[in-house]
């Protein structure tokens, strides 16, 4: 019996994998490009110490050295290798943004589903709190809180995830409301199921597609906000390599006709565009719309 079950699971895993590969094969060019870019970023982020020629905050040359054979992209205002810093930046900036988005999703998602399932005063209370949070522009709110609590990576992650959780709360609540009215939810309630089962087993699988799409978009926003905060000097703090603060630190070079500061900026832009390409494709697939033939 058990062997049979295992076999079934194994084959279904294999078919899932083939299906996924086929989907990618069928994807539009923009989505393939996006996936490729994301894959490269992930690779660099994971293997930065092996790929980078120098150490993350190692001072290896003079200040603002131009591009040459030793320092492919020159050095920054302290004499650290730019290429190395950019490769490590993928790890730091992307990693922190990813962690922040995850936390935001857990917080906002759980509260959003609960608000939809339980309704009543809990829904009212949470929704009004979220309204208040959303009334304040995210960047300014984040700056205010960071100056109150101090700028550290931990604070940055917590503050950003709380602010972003409000947006995710709205989405999670809205999509859950569509699911909550389904007969299978009524059937589960009449069966006597508890709240945890309703949330995790009945509702969550049905809202995962829109939430996954939202995850990509949110990630972009968080990523941009963190970069913006770092550029302003209150985000990720030195000596950690980060694209936002690298733009700030080398910004003066632009007046000397040196495009080095644009490279971390381009790294930020490229990832945002790539993620959006993939999200567009994913949304198109899950919306069930068919193209006219």
């Amino acid at each position: 019996m058990n062997v049979q079950v295992q076999q079934v699971q194994k084959t279904s895993f294999r078919t899932h994998l083939t299906r996924a590969l086929l989907e990618v094969y069928d994807a539009p060019l923009s989505a393939k490009f996006g996936l490729l870019v994301i894959a490269i970023y992930v690779f660099v982020a994971l293997f930065a110490p092996w790929v980078a020629p120098f150490g993350e905050s190692e001072i290896v040359g003079r200040k603002f050295q131009p591009w040459d054979d030793q320092f492919l992209l020159g050095t920054d205002h302290l004499g650290r290798d730019m290429l190395t810093r950019i490769l490590y930046g993928a790890r730091n900036t992307v990693g922190i943004a990813l962690l922040t988005t995850f936390l935001a999703f857990i917080l906002g998602g759980v509260l959003g589903i609960l608000a939809a399932v339980l309704g009543g005063w809990l829904d009212q209370l949470l929704s009004r709190i979220v309204d208040v949070f959303m009334a304040i522009p995210a960047l300014i709110f984040a700056m205010m809180l960071l100056s109150i609590f101090g700028t550290s990576v931990i604070n940055l992650i917590i503050i950003m995830s709380v602010i972003d959780a409000t947006r995710i709360f709205r989405i999670a609540r809205a999509v859950s409301l569509n699911v909550v009215v389904m007969d299978y939810i009524e059937a589960a309630k009449l069966r006597g199921e508890k709240l945890t089962w309703l949330t995790i087993s009945e509702i969550l699988p049905n809202i995962s597609a829109p939430l996954a799409a939202e995850f990509g978009l949110r990630f972009c926003f968080v990523f941009l906000t963190i970069s913006a905060l770092s550029f302003l000097g209150i985000g990720i703090q030195p000596p950690i390599a980060d694209w936002g603060s690298m733009v700030r630190q080398t910004a003066v070079l632009i007046t000397f006709d040196d495009y080095t500061p644009l490279i971390p900026a381009a790294a930020i832009a490229l990832l945002t565009v790539a993620v959006n390409f993939v999200i567009d494709w994913f949304l198109h697939k899950t919306s069930g719309l068919k193209d006219e033939v």
Binding site: M1, V8, S12, L22, D26, M182, D183, Y184, E186, A187, K189, L190, R191, G192, E193, S201, E202, P205, N206, K290, D291, E292, V293
Partner: protein
């Protein structure tokens, strides 16, 4: 008009249509030929997935997104080949000379515009007349089809009129440019029998009045029998049989057609338990009201269900049938009265009921699609009550799952690890039955469980329920608006109207005269497989016999 009336208005030859899914093209329609003269009505019959609607819209030279005509198909409308015509040419025809009436008027009307403005839109668009002329014409048509307040009803928004009225308004709208051909795609399927007959009468009058040709698509034979001059039967995109209506009804040739005709012959075999024993469910003097309404929706409802008995509750939509079910399940605590299950009084709110009480009364829903979680495998859907109520796990649960799947006549090896989307409508409904049975209940509420299914499939479900009743000593409460289902499965019948029980008793007593006048109206509105039935009924009704629909 180019053609004379003797020529065929519409001629479809070797029409083949394919659709794209799962990375390849599938045949949907495999070479259909049909011809239609002016003033003629052609009925198209078939189960869902037979390609009826696809052929209906193909008559307008259109294919749904993701579908296309295969080479060699030909659709000629009044001398114009539509498969090769330009979009511009087709746009000139559609709405002006070919009109389409969709199944759900509520979904097809734009909710943000007044009905009469939607009527005049195509008139003005196609340059047939001015807005004022269209308004006048609309009022004239509304009075011809006997809509209430024909002068003002058009100025309402779609949600401000009833479903039947909206469907009639859509029929009038199809006529706005006096088309030569109208395609009716299941125009009465979503309506109650009492409303259906009015819409049917409207359609027939209109077609006669303007000598319009029509294609009438339906899965309901009795309805098509009233409307069509000729009938074609479709299955899996193939033409099964084609004949003149009376010939088709009286002497069907093909086995498939015969099986369709024979569907309504099922009669339940289980002998109901004696009414001397204790009832399983006793609903005593229940009055109930939704929190947001001012008036109660159920008044003093009182009935019992005994072991091995099937009680059918009939009535049109809004009569309180489903509300009664909600009160019994505890979703809507009543204002007054009580529910007794197996000798004990149930807490009125389901939150306060014990697992044992919840387990004993199960419910099966109308739409199997929304009643089972699309992200759960069948194993989880049917298995959950087993582990939740009975604490079964491992091999014991697997054995029971196999038994349950055998009971609903589905192979456990094949189906347990599938998702609901991989099943047909009838199979999904069987899964809902299995889930209800898994709880080991004494009483099952069936809320319109066959109304979304094709007749052959529905009959299979009824047979299954009958067999299970016999084997497991179940009691059923069967909510339905379909009297054929009642005849097939019920022991007792309760007729409801506007929240009140107007008549209840043994099936034979309720279905034989003398009836309550509302029961009479319901019964006489059920179409019969006799092409003369509607003429007779309409004649009787206009001569003053019987009563108008309760809805109006």
């Amino acid at each position: 008009m180019k053609s004379n009336s003797a020529e065929h208005l519409l001629e479809m030859k070797n029409v083949k249509i394919e659709g794209f899914s799962d990375r390849r093209w599938h045949d949907i329609v495999n070479g259909i030929d049909l011809k239609l003269k002016r003033g003629e009505i052609l009925g198209i019959i078939g189960e869902s997935g037979a390609g009826k609607s696809t052929i209906g819209i193909a008559a307008m030279g259109y294919c749904k997104a993701g579908c296309r005509f295969k080479p060699g198909s030909s659709v000629v409308f009044d001398g114009l080949e539509l498969t090769s015509a330009s979009e511009e040419e087709k746009r000139r025809l559609r709405g002006a000379r070919i009109a389409y009436v969709a199944q759900s008027a509520a979904a097809a009307f734009n909710p943000a515009h007044k009905i009469i403005d939607q009527f005049s839109e195509s008139v003005v668009q196609h340059g047939v007349g001015s807005r004022e002329e269209a308004y006048a014409d609309a009022k004239d048509l509304y009075s011809k089809i006997k809509m209430p307040e024909p002068d003002t009803i058009g100025f309402r928004y779609p949600h401000q009129v009833s479903g039947g009225q909206l469907q009639r308004a859509m029929t009038a709208m199809a006529l706005s440019c006096r088309p030569d051909l109208i395609i009716f795609d299941e125009p009465t399927t979503a309506l109650d029998v009492t409303t259906q007959i009015e819409v049917l009468a409207t359609i027939r009058d209109i077609v006669e009045l303007f000598n319009t040709a029509a294609i009438y698509i339906s899965h309901d034979l009795a309805v098509v029998a009233q409307m069509a001059d000729n009938i074609i039967v479709l299955r899996y995109g193939d033409l099964v049989e084609e004949a003149e209506t009376r010939t088709m009804l009286d002497y069907p040739k093909e086995d498939y057609t015969k099986s369709l005709w024979a569907v309504r012959t099922f009669e339940k075999t289980t002998v109901a338990g004696s009414r001397d024993s204790e009832p399983i469910v006793k609903v005593s003097h229940v009055t109930a009201q939704y929190p947001k309404t001012k008036e109660p929706v159920l008044f003093d409802v009182d009935f019992e269900v005994y072991p091995r008995e099937t009680v059918a509750i009939v009535g049109e939509s809004g009569s309180g049938k489903s509300t009664a079910a909600r009160v019994i399940t505890g979703l809507l605590p009543p204002l007054e009265g009580s529910i007794m299950l197996d000798g004990e009084i149930l807490p009125s709110d389901y939150h306060n009921r014990t697992k044992e009480q919840l387990k004993s009364a199960q419910m099966i829903y109308q739409m199997a699609d929304t009643a089972i979680n699309p992200r759960h495998k069948i194993r989880k859907i049917v298995g959950r009550p087993l582990s939740f109520y009975l604490g079964m796990e491992g091999d014991e649960k697997q054995r029971r799952l196999n038994e349950l799947m055998d009971m609903i006549e589905m192979d456990p090896k094949l189906y347990l690890d599938r998702y609901p989307a991989e099943l047909s409508g009838g199979q999904k409904q069987r899964i809902c039955i299995a889930r209800a049975l898994a709880a080991d209940p004494k009483f099952i509420i069936c809320d319109e469980i066959t109304s979304a299914l094709d007749q052959l499939v529905a009959e299979g479900i009824l047979r299954l329920l009958d067999r299970l009743q016999q084997e497991l000593n179940l009691a059923y409460m069967f909510i339905t608006h379909d009297l054929a289902t009642v005849r097939a499965i019920a022991d007792r019948v309760i007729v409801m109207l506007q929240g009140r029980i107007v008549e209840q008793g043994e099936k034979n007593m309720v279905l034989q005269p003398p009836h309550h006048e509302y029961t009479e109206l319901l019964l006489s509105s059920v179409p019969e497989m006799n092409p003369d039935w509607m003429d007779r009924i309409m004649a009787e009704r206009t001569s003053g016999k019987g009563m108008q629909s309760a809805g109006n």
